[in-house]
């Protein structure tokens, strides 16, 4: 895990009720499909001082943001429209954040069904059974590839990756993210840029 934080973060961490007044948002800096940076940033209004934590993250298998099911997340601002701890979808499970649909840069093609997630079961566990790639087991760096979503690593019985999903989840809730779970339209946003 890479952590990029301002020095003031330490002081903020010491405040037990720091999350009550924080205002947070995500950023995603696109570098490569399997080595980009997801950050959670927050402030304590009215102070403009900005704090952040960052993690390695992946998105897509191609830098062509207009290719559905292949390209990384299109650039721009997103609304986050839901957060679940035990999401039980067919392809995405566990701790997830649901993002709005987005026109890509061609102005025509819409990317849909976008999430921030990892590879884990709905109960936040790991299902590692096969020789190569299980969809709900984080085995290797290639798991950073996605069909378009942002993906974070987590530990598994077969690989020693950092608990970036868990840390992002905790940071989100402690520093400005909503405590509620489920679908909701809230002020938390994601900014995707190069």
């Amino acid at each position: 895990m890479r952590i990029v934080a301002l020095a003031a973060v330490l002081a903020a961490l010491a405040c037990a009720d720091a999350g009550q007044a924080a205002n947070g948002w995500w950023t995603f800096k696109r570098q490569t499909n399997i080595d980009s940076t997801l950050s959670w940033k927050w402030t304590y209004p009215p102070s403009a001082a900005e704090y952040s934590r960052s993690w390695r993250a992946g998105s897509g298998s191609s830098p062509s943001e207009c290719r559905p099911a292949e390209g990384w997340l299109p650039a721009g601002w997103y609304s986050q429209w839901g957060h679940w701890n035990q999401y039980d979808g067919s392809a995405v499970r566990g701790r997830v954040w649901w993002l709005q649909d987005k026109y890509c840069r061609d102005g025509v093609t819409r990317r849909t069904e976008l999430f921030i997630h990892s590879e884990e079961t709905a109960s936040n566990g790991q299902n590692c059974t096969s020789a190569y790639d299980d969809p709900f087991c984080w085995e290797r760096a290639a798991d950073y590839y996605s069909l378009g979503c942002i993906k974070l690593a987590r530990p598994s019985p077969v690989a020693d990756f950092p608990n970036d999903l868990g840390n992002a989840h905790t940071t989100y809730h402690n520093y400005g993210g909503k405590s509620d779970h489920g679908a909701s339209s809230d002020a938390y946003e994601l900014y995707v840029f190069d």
Binding site: G60, S61, S62, S64, C66, R67, P68, A69, E70, P74, G76, W77, Y78, S79, W81, G89, S90, A91, V92, Q100, D101, K102, Y103, C104, R105, D106, G107, V108, T109, R110, R111, T112, E113, L114, F115, H117, Y132, D133, P135, A142, Y145, S146, L147, G148, C149, A183, S185, A187, E189, L190
Partner: protein, 379 residues
């Protein structure tokens, strides 16, 4: 509606050609216009007996991208069926929905499938609230229709797959349950398409008859249907493990050939969906441009990789008896058509003028139109 005369500005756009990649700029070699059928905004070129026609709307399928053609000519050449998209409110991609005041459930757009009749020039909505279509050899038309007409913010656009025996016949539901489907093409009497899940996960599926759907290839993309309509060529990218290609029997989903893409020219990298299969050859877009494969009864062999600089290519089609490949790429100014000669790997590029205006809020958009169903004789 009578067909409108071709705009001079459109002619000018179509004649703008430049060399692509490392190919020399040989103006005398450049084709007068791209091969095959293609759209420039709402104008369509290359239809039989028509130098150009102007449609009522630009053929685009925002909810499908190029998983499926934006439009397809009917097997008898009488019609062009195409996807259209009517925005109900502006959605600026630079801004979040919250910042634009878009609330959950707000109607954003209406997709529709339109039918253009070449002889009369009549251009009418065949089905509102629908997108993605496929013509069968006998003229039956399949499409996906949403449970609701409008695409709404934060509401997955679920619906069903329908088939009409002919454009005027009543539709019959073929999907066994509601879902997110994209129709691609017919393989004989079997309809091939996608079922989409969270995270844009795609399963290649087959609809054999009303109410009967099978998964042919989970977590995969469809490159092409074989000329005889018995097999499909599918790809899997690195998000599903080791990138690979497979040929499957449609009847039973058995894998008859497989190629591990990590064991061929690394320039190929990955292979993308929406390619073409003619004879024993398959063309697909790849990470570096185009990849051509030979398919035998038990094997897939990389025949050639054509490197094409610039943005990734989409929907490559064989043209000119397989001597050329025509594809397109997405740029900030719209689609750019690329015509590559297979033996020399030289590519001509047909791009819109940088200051050209789009139509209906869309950029100038160039994209080839085709019918991926097999067996089928294309125009």
């Amino acid at each position: 509606m009578a067909p409108k005369p071709l705009l001079l500005s459109t002619v000018a756009l179509a004649l703008i050609a430049a060399a692509c990649g490392s190919a020399p700029e040989t103006a005398e070699r450049s084709a007068a216009r791209p091969r095959g059928i293609y759209a420039v905004g709402e104008h369509v070129f290359g239809l039989d007996g028509k130098p150009a026609v102007e449609l009522a709307a630009a053929p685009v399928a925002p909810l499908a991208g190029w998983l499926t053609p934006a439009g397809a000519p009917s097997p008898d050449g009488r019609y062009l069926a195409y996807n259209a998209w009517k925005e109900l409110r502006r959605d600026d991609p630079a801004l979040s929905w919250d910042d634009q005041g878009i609330e959950p459930g707000d109607p954003l757009a209406t997709p529709s499938i339109r039918l253009y009749e070449l002889a009369s020039g009549n251009d009418a909505v065949l089905q509102d609230g629908a997108f993605s279509l496929a013509w069968r050899a006998d003229g039956a038309l399949a499409y996906f229709k949403g449970a609701e007409r409008d695409y709404r913010a934060g509401v997955p656009y679920v619906g069903d797959v329908f088939v009409r025996p002919g454009p005027d016949a009543p539709p019959e539901r073929w999907s066994p349950e509601r879902g997110r489907y994209v129709v691609v093409g017919w393989a004989g009497r079997t309809l091939i398409g996608y079922r989409e899940r969270e995270g844009e996960a795609l399963d290649v599926v087959a609809f054999d008859e009303p109410g009967r759907m099978r998964i042919l290839a989970p977590d995969a993309g469809l490159v092409a249907i074989s000329p005889d309509g018995r097999r499909v060529f599918v790809e899997q990218g690195p998000a599903q493990g080791r990138p690979n290609l497979r040929v499957l029997e449609i009847a039973n989903a058995a894998v008859v050939a497989r190629l591990d893409l990590t064991r061929v020219d690394p320039g190929v990298g990955t292979v993308n969906y929406a390619g073409d299969w003619r004879g024993d050859r398959v063309v697909a877009s790849s990470a570096s441009g185009l990849a051509l494969f030979r398919v035998s009864s038990r094997a897939i062999r990389l025949e050639r990789a054509i490197r094409v600089q610039g943005p990734g290519l989409s929907e490559p089609r064989f043209a000119d008896a397989g001597r050329h490949v025509v594809a397109w790429a997405s740029s900030r100014h719209g689609g750019v058509l690329v015509d590559c000669e297979e033996t020399t790997a030289d590519c001509d590029r047909f791009r819109p003028l940088t200051d050209a205006a789009g139509v209906h809020g869309f950029p100038v958009w160039r994209r080839n139109l085709y019918n991926p169903s097999r067996p089928l004789q294309e125009g």
